[in-house]
Symmetry: C2
Subunit: 366 residues, 2 copies
DNA sequence: GTGAAAGCGCTAACAA
DNA sequence: TTGTTAGCGCTTTCAC
């Protein structure tokens, strides 16, 4: 049993120095790989370290240097594969540059997000990537900037915060997708999002979350292009768990002027929408057309497979990490962030409106 | 602009002490909430801290106390909702006890897992929860124990490592589910797992991953119960990405003695299996029956909805955190870990074997 | 090249 | 109740 004494003190540079018969400073230099050390001393020190199985105390190191070689990531919902994939992009890119990545999940709660940012700053991460929950509060993010450590926002930008943002512009793809739906005869196109909002949506309302605002703007533009008016009564915010989405879906599909197509703003909403449609005994796309954001693996398994708007999430994660590391290594230098574009993948859940002339055929995806 | 000078030194206890006209020690006591401080001094110190917007340096604090009030979590694949849900259970429980949680994702790579453990130990987390990738290597986990910090394993146990394990015993539910399949006339039941293995599976082989071993043992027992022999030629390990699973599935369904039922050992494998079945133009459950582990949200959206084996993942996460925190707070005291049981949720992907007498009807789930 | 000594920001033992 | 003093383990002057 080599580890019988759990309460043993960690071995320190001093121990190594003693064993190698050199000064603490020399041992530290050899171990840390800085300063000037003779070959002879270096070897003795490394050998001693090896045999004592010395491990540097990163905390002490960080305290002195101020650098931790760690980047912190804060996301709202790690159960959403969207963030899982982004996380992989971030990790891969960071690892390639010798940075460790630690993540904190907030459950889409602004208080938890504030805590998470505080914890990571306290742990002296070298920089942060935050996928901020949509909320007017931004004090915690301003505090990051004030601390002097770089911040990169993921997915949404925050008004009045001059930091790098990695996101896909959704306006164009939304416009194009909506045009596709309109082309198929739809005018009653609904949009469901979990975005929290005090008031119901109205046309021209200032939507605080950039990606949602862009999706809505794209829809609005497409309706304008087609000479129709945007059915803003079919925009539903504040969708919560899956059950509430099911309810909203059923509500949208009932009544005198039901929706003929539904757009889900993310994978979680999509689950509820499809379930809602199914429980009403309706078929996609015969009775109602369906479109969702994010190309999740399961969307190919339903019947019909679902049409989705796909974003290069992995690449976005990698780009976020790259931009952050750039900022860390060359403070003050503006980092170049690539443009990302989302594309419509039209699988089979968009169909002609029920009862309309059935001249609709899919236009090819680019 | 309040944060114009990004390069300003952080404000320390010394600064606060000076402002409050007390000694550094008194300021530290007041701020840290330990020792004895008069009401007068406490107020002056807190006021000074407030006005200087003092933030304690957690690193320095951790260096002295050895405690970080942080627990580290290491998982293989955060894209798998299984771990996302577990993570929420862990976070919720930890937060309730005042612990922060940081996570590192390893991509099912043993080297990354080793690194992750090292990083977290270096950051001086108070304890670790690890969902270990199945691998013979366990040096990194032994190092955790040697460091004196508690470790809780999630999902799988590791041979020769005497630590708390939070897992669901899969033997019984596997046996029962397999019996269900056999009852429906199936004898050619396949099992696909991503578990890495040097050699193909053979009956009686020592499978290193507990949950997979249990699944297989349950199957074997059920076949034994029914007086049939276990078709070990239909057990496929080393499944990789989705494409490879599709290939394995197609292989299993071809040939002179094809599988009539397929069991997927996790959600990722399941995606490939269903896709494989669909691309062959076969129907579930008419042509082939299907069963998978983990009750993921999308399993209700396929046609038919998929039969699954459900584990209380959130509760398991919470229990892991509870056990770990117990160990942190009362070292040496053995923590009581509840038993978890998985249940078969028979939705609609298990049917009678093609061509057999169609007397099969679902037996009710408990 | 080398070593002694002064920090980093905090806690904790010891006196007063 | 207070203040003084020593650390925690490392990096980093600054002399030699």
């Amino acid at each position: 049993m080599t580890h019988s004494s759990a309460r043993r003190r960690d071995v320190t540079v001093a121990d190594v120095a003693k064993a190698a018969l050199v000064s603490k400073a020399q041992a530290a230099r050899a171990l840390g790989g800085y300063g000037a050390v003779s070959e002879d001393v270096r070897e003795r020190v490394l050998a001693a370290a090896e045999s004592l199985s010395y491990r540097p105390n990163e905390l002490a190191r960080t305290m002195n240097t101020g650098k931790s070689h760690t980047i912190g990531v804060v996301v709202g919902d790690i159960e959403n594969p969207h963030f899982g994939l982004a996380m992989r992009g971030i990790s891969d890119r960071a690892k390639a540059s010798g940075f460790d990545v630690i993540l904190i999940n907030t459950g889409e709660d602004i208080r938890a997000e504030t805590d998470a940012v505080r914890v990571l700053l306290d742990k002296r991460v070298d920089g942060l990537i935050v996928a901020p929950v949509s909320s007017p509060e931004k004090g915690h993010l301003e505090r990051v900037c004030a601390s002097g450590r770089p911040l990169v926002l993921f997915d949404r930008k925050v008004d009045g915060l001059d930091v790098d943002v990695v996101a896909t512009d959704m306006t164009e793809v939304s416009r194009k997708s909506t045009a596709e739906l309109i082309h198929a005869g739809h005018e009653r196109i609904a949009f469901i999002s979990t975005l929290k909002s005090q008031e119901p949506f109205w046309n021209g309302m200032d939507v605080s979350s950039t990606p949602i605002a862009e999706r809505l703007k794209g829809m609005s533009l497409a309706f304008h292009d087609a000479g129709h008016s945007f059915p803003s009564d079919l925009v539903r915010l504040n969708a919560g768990n899956s059950d509430s989405v099911v309810g909203i879906t059923q509500d949208l599909l009932r009544g005198p002027a039901p929706a003929t197509a539904i757009v889900a703003s993310d994978g979680l909403v999509a689950l509820g929408v499809v379930e809602g449609i199914q429980t009403m005994g309706l078929s996609i796309p015969q009775d109602v057309s369906f479109l969702m954001y994010d190309d999740l693996a399961w969307t190919r398994l339903t019947n019909p497979p679902l049409s989705v708007i796909s974003q290069p999430v992995y690449d976005m994660g990698a780009a976020a990490a790259a931009a952050l590391i750039q900022r860390i290594q060359r403070p003050g230098v503006k980092s170049e962030i690539p443009e990302f574009t989302a594309t419509l993948i039209n699988r089979g859940s968009i169909g002609a409106v029920r009862g309309a002339a059935s001249c609709y055929s899919l236009s090819e995806s680019p």
